[in-house]
Each structure stands twice: as structure tokens, then as C-alpha cells.
């Protein structure tokens, strides 16, 4: 008997996977999509330039289409597409390399690095788990109330750490609770609603602050690079976005409750399981306390001093990262393990794409085209932006969707005569409303892996939740952002 056949099944599978990983050949369809995407750039390079558009602008439109194809079909990693966006610009003579790479040094990128280091420390010391269990204890009196608790807890935690991390945190907690209550996967509506509450709670919560959703810093990064720049502070963002979050949370919960009426009556087993998990956590350790302190300090600094006249968002985020190192809460090894550096590249590409689309006049030309089709009615334009973003974010990475639509949205805003801030808020927030498909967002995929709901359940609830959230964003845009805050005039 050879060695491989003596290995347990799990190890054999792992071995096979390693072998597969070491030799990677893209699928035939991947080559097709890559060629198709590059052909779009080639066409933009060789075709005659239409009136009103510069040659550089036409090439940028080609690069935008290429990025859209590659980010939707994903024949290569998202970050590699971003690198392509960056290098094609100097190669095709759109912008000098120095100008392109300068956008990479955007403050939003450093804000993101700091925020990821903070999240890494929270995860390392299990602070997020303690907070999650504390939250859940408030809601353990009734099954329906408990599912609302999951939604709220996920949303609140997504205010201070990336949404995908929150989904990954809540999955084992909630699965153990469902197992304790003897809930059968796929058959129990309590199981379905609980799992969907994780997915939707994280998505909705990620709209609330600049930390939860990766696309939010992207929007402020592009706005800060406009001329004249528009600076959005931590508090500004929360003031704009929180109404959407707090209206969407109860409504989406009602959608889930009505779509899947909960059959469970007694939640005492769940209560016992939460108590057991809280006991397992034990008392707060010194480093966990320090991380909590630094987190609270960072939030306070973001609230009080993130405007341009003080330190700005990025400096505070990096400061908190440095404090975590000084206090011994985190090591460089932890940062290497828990900070996804690929997303930084993704951001760099996305920001340079947005900036170059504006600076070459491609955005204005596209906006003109859209203006001729849709017309200049403010309400119609807002509704179209919301619909396009929601549809696109369902089928591709939400950062990719926002990166493609933001430059167009900003140009459309200028053409129609309202502030790019309004269109950026619409696109950035709607980019997080990916409720319908497993592939839409990591949160959906993580919770789907539990086996408690089907793709059909997700779609059924997601369609209604999306429709409601589209209505919410539209109403908030009209009555709050325009009616109260006058964002259209900033």
C-alpha cells in the first residue's frame, strides 16, 4: 500500500488541493474574457475619436470597459485588474506614470490600512466575539426578537470592523445556537432567518461608517481627489448614511419575518448556549481591554478630529495602528496574517480609474451620453443611479461596482447640476446592497456555507429586501440629503 492511500481522507483531500494550487492554468473561458477585455482597450486605442471626446478620454473609456469585464467575470484576481488599470494609462499615453501612481498615495488608502490593523487586533484578541455575545444577550427572550438581535448586532459590529470579518465571526456563534436549539438546516425558518440576518445585518451595517464597507473610503478617496476637492469626515459620513441604516434594519427584518414565518416558540436552549459561550470567554484580558481602549479612542478621534483642519481620517487610523504596536496588542506577524494587502492594490487601481476618467474628460462625455438618453430630471437620474448600482453590485465585487460607477456618477452629477457628493453617497451606499445572490458578497457566501438556507431562499428574500432598500435610499436622497442637508449644492 502506498503512503497516500494510508492517509486519512481529509489529508488526502488537502494534498490534492495543494497539488492543484501549485499548477494553475486559467480556464478556457478565462482566456476568452481576458482577450475580450483587452480587445475593448485595443478598439478604444485604434478607433477614430468622436466629437467632444479627447483621445485620452476614449482610451480611458476602453480601460473602464476592460475593468468592468474583468471585475465581473474575474478571470484574474481583482487586484491584478487594478494593476492593469494603473500600468495601461502610462503605456497608452493617457497620463504620465508619476501622476497615475500619485493617486495610489491617496489618504483613503492609508485610512484603510489603519482600519485593517485595528480590525486585526480586535480579531486577534477575540474582542469582537465578546461584543457580539454581549449584544445577543439583550435579545434572548423571544425567537423573533433574537433574530432581530442578530441583525442589529451584526450591523453594529460592522460599524467598527469590516463586514466580512463580522459575518465570519457570527457564523460559528449562531450555528452553535441553532444546533443547541435542534434546528434542522433548510427546514427551519428560524434557521433561515437567523442566517440571513447575519448576511443582511453585515451588509446594512457596512453602510453606516467608513470602516465597515470597503467601498466607503473609496468614495471619499475619489471625492478628495476631485478639483475642487470634497472632503468628507467620519462624522459627515455617519450623518449622511445612518438614516438609511436605521430605516433599513427594521424593514429588512420585517421582510425576513414575513417571508419565512418563524416556527420556533421556545428559545431557552439558545439562551443556555449563549450563557455557555459567555462563560467560556471568561473575564476580559489586559490586551483585550487595551484594544477596546484604543478602539474607543480612535472612534473619538475620528468623530472629533477627522476634518481637514485637524489630523484627517488616515492619520488617526495609522496612529491607532501604531498605538496597538506600542501597547504590545499586535505584532507584525499578526498584521501579515490579517491585513488583506491585495485590497490596497484594488483601491489604488480603483482610485486612479476614477481620477483619470474625470481628468481626461471621459466622465463628462459619458455623462453627456447618459443625459441625452435619461434626460436631466433629478429624480429620474437618482433612481437610475440607485438601480444600476444595485444591479451591478449583485453580480460583481461591490468595490468593483462602485469603482466603475463612481466616475460616471460624478460626471453625471456635474452635468445635471448637482454635487458629486450626492451621487457618490448614492453609489457608495447602494454598492453595499447585495442581497440576492450567493456570489454577490462574501457575507452571503459565508452564511450560505452553513446549509441553513437555499439559493432560492436568498433570492426570494433578497429581491424584496433590495426593492425596499432602493425605496429607502431614494427617499433618503430626496427628503434628507437634498431636502434637509442640501447635499446637491455642496
Amino acid at each position: 500500500m502506498d503512503e497516500a492511500s494510508q492517509l486519512p481522507q481529509d489529508e488526502t483531500i488537502q494534498q490534492n488541493r495543494k497539488q492543484k494550487d501549485s499548477v494553475f492554468f486559467p480556464k478556457k473561458s478565462s482566456y476568452f474574457f481576458m482577450l475580450f477585455a483587452f480587445f475593448m482597450v485595443f478598439l478604444a486605442y485604434v478607433l477614430p475619436v468622436p466629437e467632444g471626446l479627447s483621445r485620452e478620454g476614449q482610451i480611458m473609456i476602453g480601460i473602464l470597459v476592460m475593468a468592468a469585464i474583468l471585475w465581473i467575470t474575474e478571470p484574474m484576481p481583482l487586484a491584478v485588474t487594478s494593476l492593469l488599470i494603473m500600468i495601461l494609462q502610462p503605456l497608452l499615453g493617457v497620463l504620465p506614470a508619476g501622476d497615475v501612481f500619485a493617486s495610489f498615495g491617496n489618504k483613503a488608502v492609508f485610512f484603510l490600512i489603519g482600519a485593517f490593523i485595528l480590525a486585526a487586533a480586535i480579531e486577534k484578541h477575540g474582542l469582537h466575539r465578546r461584543i457580539a455575545l454581549r449584544f445577543l444577550r439583550f435579545f434572548e427572550n423571544h425567537p423573533k426578537f433574537f433574530t432581530f438581535g442578530i441583525l442589529i448586532s451584526c450591523a453594529f459590529l460592522s460599524f467598527v470592523m469590516p463586514e466580512h470579518g463580522v459575518a465570519a465571526l457570527f457564523l460559528p456563534i449562531i450555528v452553535s445556537i441553532l444546533i443547541a436549539t435542534k434546528v434542522v438546516p433548510r427546514q427551519s425558518n428560524f434557521g433561515k432567518v437567523s442566517m440571513l440576518c447575519i448576511a443582511y445585518g453585515c451588509s446594512i451595517g457596512s453602510l453606516g461608517t467608513l470602516v465597515g464597507g470597503a467601498r466607503n473610503p473609496l468614495a471619499i478617496g475619489i471625492l478628495a481627489d476631485l478639483s475642487p476637492p470634497i472632503n468628507v469626515t467620519f462624522v459627515d459620513w455617519c450623518v449622511y448614511s445612518m438614516p438609511v441604516v436605521f430605516i433599513a434594519l427594521p424593514l429588512v427584518w420585517l421582510v425576513l419575518i414575513f417571508t419565512f414565518p418563524i416556527e420556533l416558540q421556545d428559545i431557552s436552549d439558545a439562551k443556555k448556549e449563549i450563557d455557555r459561550q459567555v462563560r467560556t470567554e471568561g473575564k476580559m484580558k489586559i490586551h483585550e481591554g487595551l484594544v477596546l481602549g484604543i478602539l474607543l479612542l480612535t472612534i473619538c478621534l475620528w468623530i472629533l478630529f477627522s476634518s481637514q483642519q485637524y489630523f484627517g481620517l488616515a492619520a488617526i487610523a495609522i496612529l491607532s495602528g501604531v498605538l496597538l504596536f506600542f501597547s504590545g496588542c499586535i505584532t507584525w506577524n499578526d498584521v501579515e496574517q490579517r491585513v488583506p494587502w491585495g485590497i490596497i492594490l484594488l483601491y489604488g487601481g480603483a482610485i486612479t480609474l476614477g481620477v483619470s476618467i474625470q481628468s481626461t474628460g471621459a466622465g463628462a462625455w459619458l455623462a453627456n451620453l447618459i443625459f441625452n438618453v435619461v434626460g436631466g430630471n433629478l429624480y429620474v437620474v437618482i433612481l437610475m443611479m440607485i438601480l444600476f448600482t444595485v444591479l451591478l453590485t449583485e453580480v460583481m465585487s461591490n468595490v468593483g461596482a462602485v469603482a466603475i460607477l463612481l466616475p460616471i456618477g460624478i460626471a453625471v452629477a456635474e452635468k445635471v447640476g448637482f454635487s458629486p457628493l450626492l451621487s457618490s453617497m448614492i453609489i457608495a451606499l447602494c454598492g453595499g446592497l447585495a442581497f440576492m445572490l450567493v456570489i454577490s458578497t462574501p457575507g452571503n457566501a459565508i452564511t450560505y456555507s452553513s446549509g441553513y438556507f437555499s439559493t432560492r431562499d436568498l433570492f426570494k428574500a433578497g429581491v424584496i429586501a433590495n426593492a425596499i432598500c432602493i425605496g429607502i435610499v431614494f427617499c433618503v436622497a430626496i427628503f434628507y440629503w437634498i431636502g434637509v442637508l442640501h447635499l446637491e449644492a455642496i
Partner: protein, 287 residues
């Protein structure tokens, strides 16, 4: 009179149906069979999660999440599904074997079937998942898809598209065993006027009248054995689904119909797969 001596019940982490366990207990009770229940942690749901998280989570975090998901799945299998199974099988005084494996549904089943001598695979089916169910074409033993319970009637379907060697005999024995009514029919598929050659290895083209004659000979031969059979003409899939609905069949028994399924030369789902998708009834595919 044992038909199925060793039953394999695979349960995907993506789809669990208690009905499969109940049917398994019923069959094992009838035949005194051994039962193995395999819980398969679907590789696809894990890779999907990894793929979606590619840019947003580190390798370390993805591994952590994956381990967590696998642990959750193992807990779910042990505490919920195997517990359910023990309860269901206890009523028949049968103690099944339990296993938890990680991999792709069809591949794991194929590996299990090749490693041990199973007589039938008993499984549930859902369209609402990421599973592709290559299993319809990849195993050489009977495959029983458990659907909604119908009446105590069995529909056995023979046709010009299968060798029809096992269907009448096994259906007859199953119907006797369960004490169900047997409805045997022979369908001449006019859309595919072919039949097997004498060695039952490959198709030969025939005219419709030749196929009807062959069908009539089959019906007569069954009559001599005391089994009433009905001759039908038309599309295999349509007639099977229509008759199953009319009978509200508790089980539909059919072979692996070798109807050519392609669009512009590209292969599409097998006919067995399409019939299962469109039918709510239990199906037994004899290979």
C-alpha cells in the same frame, strides 16, 4: 428475496431531507439491508466562500473561516442529522454506519461506491443549490431519488432507448415486496427512432413501425410472464412525467435512457437529470 442488500445514503451539507432517511429505513426494513449514511461537507460551498473573499480576507483568515465552517458542519451532522437518522432507524432496529467526508458530492459518492459494494444510492435532490449532480451519469449502480410520497403505485418505464433487461424484473419484485400496484409501460420515443443492437452496446437506427413492432413484442412477452404492460408512443420525458402525475406514483422506475442531449453539438444535462428536475415523484434509475 433481497434486492438491495447494502444501501448508501449520501447527505449533502447543502441539502438535507429527512424524507430520505425515512425512505432508507423503510427499504432497509423491507430488505434487511445494511445502511451507510455519509454526510458530505460540500467543497463547493467552501471554495465559493474562499473565492468571494479572495481580495477582502487574508489566507490566514480564510483558512480560519474554513476550519470554522467545517467544524460547524461536523457539529450539525453529529447533533442534528445523525441524531435524526438514529431516531428514524431505531424504529426498524437498524444501526446505520455514519461517516463525515469533505469533497464534491458526486465525487465522494463515486469514491464510496467504488470502495465498497453498495447496491443502491438513496438521495434527495434540490435545484436550489450549487450542486451539479454529475452523479446521474457517473455511477454504475441504481440511484434512488427520494421525492414527495405519492400513492402506493409504481410506474416502471421501458423504452427503445434502454436495453430493458432489469426494469421489469426489479420493478415486479419491488412492487411485490412493498405490496404496491405496478404499472409497466413501454414508450416508443418517436423523437429518437433508434434502439440498441443485440449486444446492447450501441444504438441502431430503426423506422417507427419497426420500433412499434419491437414494443409490441415486449408487451406480449411481459403478458406471458403475467405482467400487464402498455405500449405508448411520443416523447419519453413528456409521457413519463404525465403518467407519473396521473398515477400520483409512489415510485417511477426507469433505466438510463441514452437519448442524445445536446444543443449545437454541446452536451447538456442528461435526460435522467432533467426528468428529476421536472418531477416531484421518487425516481429509481437502474443502471
Amino acid at each position: 428475496m433481497v434486492v438491495f442488500d447494502n444501501i448508501l445514503i449520501p447527505i449533502s451539507s447543502e441539502f438535507y431531507s429527512r424524507g430520505v432517511l425515512e425512505k432508507g429505513a423503510f427499504l432497509a426494513g423491507c430488505f434487511g439491508s445494511r445502511v451507510t449514511i455519509v454526510y458530505i461537507i460540500e467543497e463547493k460551498t467552501l471554495t465559493q466562500t474562499e473565492r468571494r473573499s479572495e481580495m477582502f480576507r487574508t489566507r490566514f483568515e480564510k483558512e480560519e473561516t474554513k476550519k470554522g465552517i467545517i467544524n460547524n458542519q461536523k457539529q450539525t451532522a453529529n447533533v442534528i442529522i445523525f441524531f435524526d437518522a438514529k431516531t428514524v432507524f431505531k424504529e426498524k432496529n437498524i444501526i446505520p454506519n455514519f461517516k463525515i467526508l469533505e469533497g464534491e458530492f458526486s465525487t465522494v459518492i463515486a469514491q464510496e461506491v467504488s470502495a465498497q459494494h453498495f447496491d443502491v444510492v438513496l438521495m434527495g435532490y434540490t435545484k436550489e443549490g450549487l450542486l451539479k449532480y454529475r452523479i446521474f451519469d457517473e455511477i454504475a449502480i441504481p440511484l434512488w431519488i427520494v421525492g414527495s410520497p405519492g400513492d402506493r403505485r409504481m410506474l416502471a418505464v421501458c423504452s427503445n432507448l434502454t436495453p430493458n433487461q432489469k426494469i421489469p424484473e426489479i420493478s415486479f419484485r419491488l412492487a411485490q415486496c412493498f405490496n404496491w400496484d405496478l404499472h409497466l409501460m413501454y414508450i416508443v420515443d418517436t423523437g429518437e427512432p433508434v434502439t440498441f443492437d443485440e449486444s446492447a452496446q450501441r444504438f441502431v437506427k430503426k423506422s417507427v413501425s419497426e420500433l412499434l413492432d419491437a414494443g409490441q413484442r415486449f408487451v406480449d412477452a411481459m403478458g406471458k410472464k403475467g405482467i400487464a404492460a402498455q405500449l405508448m408512443t411520443g416523447g419519453f420525458q413528456e409521457i413519463t412525467l404525465h403518467t407519473a402525475k396521473q398515477l400520483n406514483a409512489g415510485l417511477v422506475v426507469m433505466g438510463q435512457e441514452q437519448k442524445r442531449d445536446d444543443i449545437l453539438g454541446f452536451p447538456v444535462k442528461s435526460m435522467s437529470h432533467r426528468i428529476v428536475e421536472k418531477s416531484k415523484y421518487s425516481m429509481l434509475f437502474l443502471k
